[in-house]
Each structure stands twice: as structure tokens, then as C-alpha cells.
């Protein structure tokens, strides 16, 4: 049963992300992204990362995706724009490269002896995440906030119109 559920979620993630990159309409791509993000949240559930799954749904599906759709709709001309790249002379070669890359990386996945952590199911992951964010990963958290601040200021600078 669990195996079946996992296959279903994985198929959803792959199919919807395929749709995201092939969709010619930006709004369709944004909607397809929702399937991907939900699917990833499902994968987190399978990894016993319940808190992460909930945040994924709230932040990505509920927040970022809605923002993207708003952005697309409020930007003039872009919502009806057709994304179609016609000039791709390197396509066959790129296809060959990507195929071999895919096969190579997939075979690595199966032949590598991966590190195995402790196989215990924690009572609640929230405590663990909270503690690590305030101890071992405190600096990481703060540095990420500086990164976001810089990105925010930069976006504001680049998108602002300079007329006084």
C-alpha cells in the first residue's frame, strides 16, 4: 500500500513538472507547478517529515505559487504570452547529452552505498527542527536572512522606475 502511494506521488511530481516546462502558456505552467509542489509535500510525508510537508504546502502552494500567479496576471501582456522557442539548433545534441547524463546519474543512485542514519521514528519533528535552528544551524538561518534581504533590495532596485 505504502509502495503504491509512493509510486503515485512520484508519478504526479514527474508528470506535473514535465507539464511545467513544456506548457506554452505561463498561467498553465504556474498551475502545473501546484501539482509538483503538492507532490513534493507528499514525498516529505513519506520521509516522516510531517512539519516540513505542512510548511511546504502552506508556504509554497499557499504563498509563493499564489504570488507567482498574481505576478503573471498583473504583469501586462505576459499572461497571454506564448512561450515558444523555435530556434534550437543544438536540440539533438543536447538530447543525447541529457540522455546519457540521466542514465549515468540514475545508475549512480543504485550502485552507491549511501549513508544510513538512525532508523528511529521521532515523536515530533517540530522540536528537533526548532532546536537545531536555534543551536547548530543558527548561523545558517541568519545568513539565509541576509541573503533574502539582499535579493529583496536588489529586486526592488532593478524593478523600480527612476524618475525622481
Amino acid at each position: 500500500m505504502a509502495e503504491f502511494g509512493f509510486t503515485g506521488i512520484a508519478a504526479l511530481v514527474i508528470a506535473s513538472s514535465f507539464w511545467v516546462v513544456t506548457a506554452r502558456n505561463l498561467v498553465h505552467a504556474a498551475v502545473a507547478l501546484m501539482g509538483t509542489l503538492f507532490g513534493v509535500a507528499g514525498l516529505y510525508v513519506y520521509l516522516y517529515a510531517d512539519f516540513l510537508a505542512a510548511t511546504q504546502v502552506i508556504i509554497y502552494v499557499g504563498g509563493i505559487l499564489v504570488l507567482i500567479i498574481f505576478g503573471v496576471m498583473l504583469t501586462q501582456r505576459i499572461s497571454s504570452a506564448v512561450l515558444l522557442q523555435t530556434h534550437m539548433p543544438n536540440r539533438p545534441l543536447a538530447g543525447v547529452v541529457v540522455f546519457f547524463l540521466f542514465m549515468g546519474l540514475t545508475s549512480l543512485l543504485f550502485r552507491t552505498p549511501w549513508h544510513e542514519g538512525e532508523q528511529v521514528m521521532p515523536e515530533s519533528t517540530v522540536t528537533i527542527i526548532g532546536t537545531s535552528l536555534l543551536t547548530k544551524y543558527l548561523l545558517h538561518f541568519e545568513v539565509a536572512s541576509v541573503l533574502l534581504l539582499v535579493a529583496l533590495l536588489g529586486a526592488a532596485y532593478l524593478s523600480r522606475r527612476e524618475d525622481g
Partner: protein
């Protein structure tokens, strides 16, 4: 060390974050003369950072529970970033290209990039590695596209974003492979896991190294991940080009040497003289191929350039190749040679770009042939340019020569990679052709005139100041080598 105690060792970085926030506030609150006041605040902030860095106790330990190292090695690079940022900030008000844009925000992003560079030089944790590279990248994207009305600046920024996003993604995949095999993001724990890896995993290890090299190689513009370099360098404001060609490159080397050297080293201890990679990894050969490719491609493309900015862009690729040569061996001597070269490269490359800015300010052109007779018009600027170019070529008696001798001697003493040293020497000969071409145009073409051109004294002063180390360390380099040697001390214990 616990997070609270770590703050005492994190003061320079804290000063930079305070500076970032105060620059944001100043930009919002000030009504008039914003560019000038923000400029003064930035320089004052840098001075405070320099003082805090100078009085920082000379220890080697890890702070924030193993996330960052405070050691002489990172401190050496932090001084390089400080000098580079200070020179660029001082020169910026005197750069005509930036007139009409909001300079006060430009300083803010420069400081933010510098904060990222500080973290790059001291990170011991794969997540911090990624975050610090991203801070530097995002800041650089904005700075490259800072001239919003100039389509070439827009193009430069966009190309930078696309290449940057791709290489970050590839690098993250490589880092995730490492994490998958080691189960930790701490470099010492990664190293401990990698040495005992069964033979089955060696291929994965090699793939992980290659993927991570994509990210690091992008930062130091290593061939074949260099495609963004000429376009970004050409389109970005020249001050930013100068900055990008020096500071993030030095940080890329600092980060790559520490992380690759530790995680992929057989002992994890960089302080021992001899270094060997973890079993099953042909580390030296991989780097050797990249080094040979990088310098050859950089030099041969530089020959064909007519724009001084593009020429310097390609030549900066070639210089990354020279430094990579020493990274093949990665013993103490190699670390010293790379750090020594970076310190000199900082002076000569910044100097050459400042002269380019000077010429652009005065005449508004950038093609080599337009520099005709410049040697007669502005000898005070053209002679330093000649010195920078000779030093970039590696001719005695300049510091560039000494730097190259150290780089080559690493390879020759190791014996095994003599072919790479040969490639390097041939490349230096090739580079003489295009560097000497600028000198020839400046001094031999064109008519002598009595008309002399002067620029702003600040620019002239900066250029002359940068020639001092280039000449001095060419004749008497013991002090610099001494500083490098005493900086060759790494934090090496886990946690």
C-alpha cells in the same frame, strides 16, 4: 564553540551587517546629497571592520558550532576583500559611467557582496558554502546590471543570472551526493566518511567532485564554465568588472582550496606539508586538465580582442588557470604560492582596470587603438599601466614575475606535472603578445604632444598607490611571503 561565545569572533562580519542595515536606513531617510553621505558611511564602516579584523585574536578555531573557521588563512583573504572593496568604493564617485545612477544603493550591494565573501573564506559547512556563494552571486547580478538604461549592462546581468543559477544547481546536486554518502554537512565529518568509502562508491565520489567543481569553477571563471565572463565583464560598470575579476575570484579560490582540500583530503588536516586525496580519486589529474584548458583558452581568446575591457576579462580567465596549476599539488607550498599570487593579482588587476576607468572617464572610449599616444598625454597614468601589464605578463622586476616563479616552482618540485608547467610557460609567452600590444599603442604609436591630460587626483593617487606593491614586491618580496607563510594555518579539528 557555543553560539553566544562565537559572537566575539564574528565582530567584523557583524560590523558589515550593521553597515548594510544602516545604509538601507540612510538611503531611505536622507533627502539630499545621499550619494556622498552614503559613500562616507560605507568607508567609515569599512574602517571599523578593518579595525575589528586587526584586533581579532589570532587563534584558529571554529565558531557557531563548527560552521565557520576563524583562522589565519581566512583572515588573510578577508584583508584581500577589504582592500579590494575599499579601492572600488573610493574610486566609484570618480567614475563617470556611474553618473546618473543611484550610487548610494550601489555601495549597499558592494558591502553585501563583501559580507558573502567573508563567509566564503571561512565556511566549514556545506550549507554555509552554498549560502555564501549565493549572497555573493545575487549581489553581483544586481551590480552587473546596475546601469539600468544601458542595454549591455542589462544583458550582462541576465547572462550572469542564467549561468549562475545553472551552476549553483549543478553544484547543489554535487553537494547533495556528498551529503548522501557522508550523512553530514560538516566538512570534517564528510572527510571522515569519504576516506572509509568502499570501492563501489569511488565513481560517485568522482562525479560529486566534478559537479562541485562546476559551482566553484564558475566563481573563478574556470574553463569550460567561463562563458559568462567576457559578456558580464564587458557590460557591467567598469568598477564592478574590476571588483568581480578580483574579489569573488579570490574568494572562490579560498573556498575551493579549503573545502576540496579538507573534504577530499586523505587526512583532513591541511596543516601537514604533504597532501594526498582520498583513496580512489584522481584529484590532481582532473585539476591539471582544467588548469591547462583554462589558461590556454583564456590567452588565445584574449589575443583576438580589441576592447581593453574584454581583453582584461579573458586575461583574468588565464590568470585563474595559472593559479589552478598550483592547486594540482595542494601542499603547503602550493597554498602559499596561490595566496601570494592572489595578493599581487589584486594590485595589478585592480590597477589595470582603474586605468581603463580613467581613460574611459577622460575620452569615453575603450578600443585598444584609441589609446594611441596615451603614453605621451598622461605619463603619470600610462607608466603605471605599463607596470601593471608587465606584471600581469610576469616579467621581472615586477611582482607578477615572483608570483609566477612560486606557482611554477610548486609544479617543478613535485616533478610529476612538469608538462603543466611547460603549458603555463608557453601561455605566459602568448600573453606577452597581447599585453605588449597595449603598451606599444600607448607609447610607440601616435605623436608626442605637450598637452597633458590629468584626471581627478583621487584616481591618480589610487593608481599610483597600487603600483607601489607591484614594484616593491618584485624586488623585495620577503614581507609578503612572510605574511603568507604565517597565514598558512588552518583550523582542522571537527566541531
Amino acid at each position: 564553540m557555543s553560539n553566544f561565545d562565537s559572537l566575539a569572533y564574528f565582530l567584523p562580519e557583524l560590523a558589515l551587517t550593521v553597515l548594510i542595515v544602516s545604509l538601507v536606513l540612510a538611503s531611505v531617510l536622507l533627502k539630499s546629497d545621499r550619494d556622498r553621505i552614503v559613500w562616507i558611511i560605507s568607508l567609515a564602516g569599512l574602517a571599523v571592520t578593518a579595525v575589528l579584523l586587526a584586533i581579532q585574536p589570532a587563534t584558529d578555531q571554529s565558531i557557531f558550532m563548527g560552521a565557520l573557521a576563524v583562522d589565519p588563512y581566512s583572515r588573510f583573504f578577508k584583508w584581500i576583500f577589504l582592500v579590494a572593496t575599499a579601492v572600488i568604493i573610493i574610486a566609484s564617485p570618480y567614475t563617470k559611467q556611474l553618473d546618473g545612477s543611484q550610487r548610494h544603493e550601489y555601495y549597499l550591494f558592494l558591502i553585501a557582496v563583501m559580507f558573502g565573501l567573508f563567509l566564503m573564506a571561512s565556511s566549514l559547512d556545506l550549507i554555509i558554502v552554498y549560502l555564501s556563494i549565493e549572497i555573493v552571486s545575487i549581489g553581483s547580478f544586481i551590480l552587473a546590471g546596475f546601469l539600468k538604461d544601458d542595454p549591455r549592462s542589462n544583458e550582462s546581468s541576465l547572462k550572469y543570472v542564467i549561468y549562475g543559477a545553472l551552476s549553483s544547481g549543478v553544484m547543489l546536486y554535487g553537494l547533495s551526493l556528498l551529503f548522501g554518502m557522508a550523512g553530514s554537512t560538516n566538512v570534517f565529518e564528510v572527510q571522515a566518511a569519504l576516506v572509509v568509502l568502499p570501492e563501489k562508491a569511488h565513481l560517485t565520489l568522482a562525479v560529486a567532485l566534478l559537479l562541485i567543481l562546476v559551482g566553484f569553477g564558475y566563481k573563478i571563471s574556470m574553463v569550460p564554465f567561463h562563458f559568462w565572463t567576457p559578456d558580464v565583464y564587458e557590460g557591467a560598470p567598469t568598477t564592478i568588472t574590476a571588483y568581480l575579476s578580483v574579489a569573488p575570484k579570490a574568494a572562490g579560490f579560498a573556498l575551493a582550496l579549503r573545502i576540496l582540500g579538507t573534504a577530499f583530503g586523505s587526512t583532513g588536516d591541511l596543516n601537514i606539508g604533504d597532501w594526498s586525496p582520498v583513496p580512489g580519486l584522481a584529484f590532481g589529474s582532473v585539476i591539471a586538465i582544467f588548469a591547462a584548458l583554462t589558461m590556454t583558452v583564456g590567452n588565445f581568446l584574449a589575443i583576438q580582442q580589441n576592447s581593453v575591457k574584454r581583453l582584461l576579462a579573458y586575461s583574468s580567465i588565464a590568470h585563474a588557470g595559472y593559479m589552478l596549476m598550483a592547486a594540482v599539488i595542494l601542499n603547503g607550498q602550493a597554498f602559499g604560492a596561490i595566496m601570494f599570487y592572489l595578493a599581487i593579482y589584486l594590485c595589478m588587476n585592480l590597477g589595470a582596470f582603474l586605468v581603463t576607468i580613467f581613460v574611459h572617464n577622460r575620452f569615453g572610449y575603450d578600443e585598444i587603438d584609441d589609446w594611441k599616444g596615451f603614453g605621451f598625454q598622461a605619463p603619470l597614468i600610462a607608466v603605471p599601466m605599463g607596470i601593471f601589464l608587465f606584471s600581469l605578463t610576469g616579467l621581472p622586476p615586477t611582482a607578477g614575475f615572483i608570483g609566477k616563479v612560486y606557482l611554477f616552482s610548486v609544479l617543478i618540485e613535485a616533478g610529476q606535472y612538469w608538462w603543466l608547467a611547460l603549458v603555463g610557460i608557453l601561455n605566459s609567452v602568448v600573453s606577452l603578445y597581447y599585453y605588449a600590444r597595449i603598451i606599444k599603442v600607448m607609447f610607440l604609436d601616435g605623436e608626442p604632444t605637450d598637452e597633458t591630460v590629468t584626471g581627478h587626483p583621487v584616481m591618480t593617487g589610487l593608481i599610483l598607490m597600487l603600483t607601489v606593491p607591484v614594484l616593491l614586491f618584485g624586488i623585495y618580496w620577503t614581507p609578503l611571503m612572510g605574511a603568507v607563510q604565517s597565514s598558512l594555518k588552518f583550523f582542522t579539528q571537527g566541531m
